[in-house]
Symmetry: none
Subunit: 178 residues, 4 copies
């Protein structure tokens, strides 16, 4: 069963390469296995990709939870957003090829991740560091959508990420009294 890991490694690697086909055959070849073996090990392409993405996403969610426990919500948000973008940049192709597939584990982890970001935002709002005139859920959705987009922007540059974080956090800051 160590081949499960071989397959997941191969799928992960391909997920990080933009423009790749991401067929079962491609994954199998990358793993040094036959296509049938790959299918058999996971029971279908969807399940395979679900497992691969979930394996990638798991540590990210954990990191969000850890940051929430270790530091202030606002600081957690700053740090986590930067890391999240770095992660998504590194796995550039994740979202591209996955539309229309049934990925229950991935969906669940994404919900966890959204929840963690919402917790960060709520805490920061209570600490007076995030404006209170925006709906929390909408704000979380906004961050989720835009962070992903920044990570996947072509070409991706550190400057873009810096600019994003600057604009976002300044835009989220409480409005100064007039």
């Amino acid at each position: 069963m160590r081949n499960r890991d071989l397959v997941l490694d191969a799928a992960t690697a391909l997920l990080a390469e933009p423009g790749v086909s991401l067929t079962v055959e491609t994954i199998a070849k990358r793993a040094g296995l036959g296509a049938a073996t790959v299918v058999r090990a996971f029971g279908g392409k969807d399940a395979l990709l679900d497992a691969a993405v979930a394996r990638l996403l798991g540590p990210v969610v954990q990191r969000a939870r850890d940051l929430l426990a270790e530091t202030t919500p606002y600081q957690a948000l700053r740090t986590f957003l930067r890391e999240l973008i770095a992660f998504q940049t590194a796995h550039h192709a994740i979202h591209d090829q996955l539309t229309g597939l049934d990925l229950p584990a991935t969906t669940a982890l994404r919900a966890d991740l959204v929840g963690a970001v919402e917790d960060m935002l709520d805490g920061a709002r209570q600490d007076g560091l995030v404006r209170a005139d925006l709906d929390p859920a909408v704000t979380t959705a906004l961050i989720g959508a835009t962070a992903l987009a920044v990570a996947r922007a072509e070409p991706s540059s550190p400057d873009l990420v810096d600019a994003y974080l600057t604009v976002l956090l300044d835009g989220l800051a409480p409005r100064p009294a007039l």
Copy 2:
């Protein structure tokens, strides 16, 4: 050729319908033509979709230029961003199905559009309405990436768009003197 328009209309309509297959046959059926006619009229699926997307994007670019001529850069930016997001929301599926295709006309128009936004930003910056501590090109890229993402967010809601524009423009505002 009148059929070119029929095909483009059909492709445009299908581009706006999420979850549709967007095969040559589907487009042809929608256009009331045979599949071979569709291919022959454009020389391939990529060229067809390129033409369809370009035809959609053309008026958008023109609108950006018009706004620049009619009003202040900052106001043009505000108005255009909202309209751009509405446009992309309406043609939700555009980006989904187009990854990996070769679309030269679309690429060129996107460059035009980016240029127009950059002009808006430059003008607004010179008017003192946008912060000057961010690289113009990077800022434009940031807007391009995030506006697209907000438009394609699931579920799309007017609240999300409002929150996006609020946070973005506040985040882009010049920093108050301390």
Copy 3:
């Protein structure tokens, strides 16, 4: 669309050859076409076989109805059973390869055929030529099951058919008064 007939002819021919694989590729090769063409013409293997079998079964059902109209029920039964067996013998493999497939047209025609046989039996019973101590539906089922089996027996011989009809009809005759 004359290729629909080509495909149906090929499928019919293969249906008559015992031991053949009856794959889409086999059918296509027999028809002198590509496999994709065959699938495209019918929308799937099941639909193709359904059409082929239905095309075979249609005249058989019609013949049953004609016999009912032309002659006495008992005579119709005698004649039809012999012809039915001859038909099934000629298309030996029909039933073998079709278990588990979804064949709506075939199923409907089989129901028609069963209905016709039941009409023959009912009429013959009322004419006093078939015993009245057996349930009509059960008797029809009995004939259907056994006629098919006789037709598919290996090796099939005219003697077997003769013996079957003799035994069946004698066995179905009204019991003589003691």
Copy 4:
């Protein structure tokens, strides 16, 4: 080898369950063994199924011989046919999944079984209880084919079996003198 029995038990059980896949893996899982073990124990799927069916058929043949020794041929025939049908009904799927396979042991046992039925028929004919105007071999073939079909009829009902035996035996009875 004790595993041979495990495998045969599993195969036998699956043979009795209609709608089951009857793959090597399914059989192995049912037997609590690995698929490779199953194949190695018999040298192939055909041999495995041949052994399984033969093991089922053995007692049936023996029962036929016992009945011939214990009672009159006609009574043996009546009893055996009912039991044979019950047996085949219970192992409904036997014939469905076995077409096209090479099963020498099964074939041999079927020949034995046919021989026993022929003996029953011959005896009954000599006792004046079965008509003499039909070829013995053909009559045996007729019974073999139809009994199997009745057993496999869908839906199987006791009424159908009763009707079959009634019609068959009445049809096989000597013709009354005119």
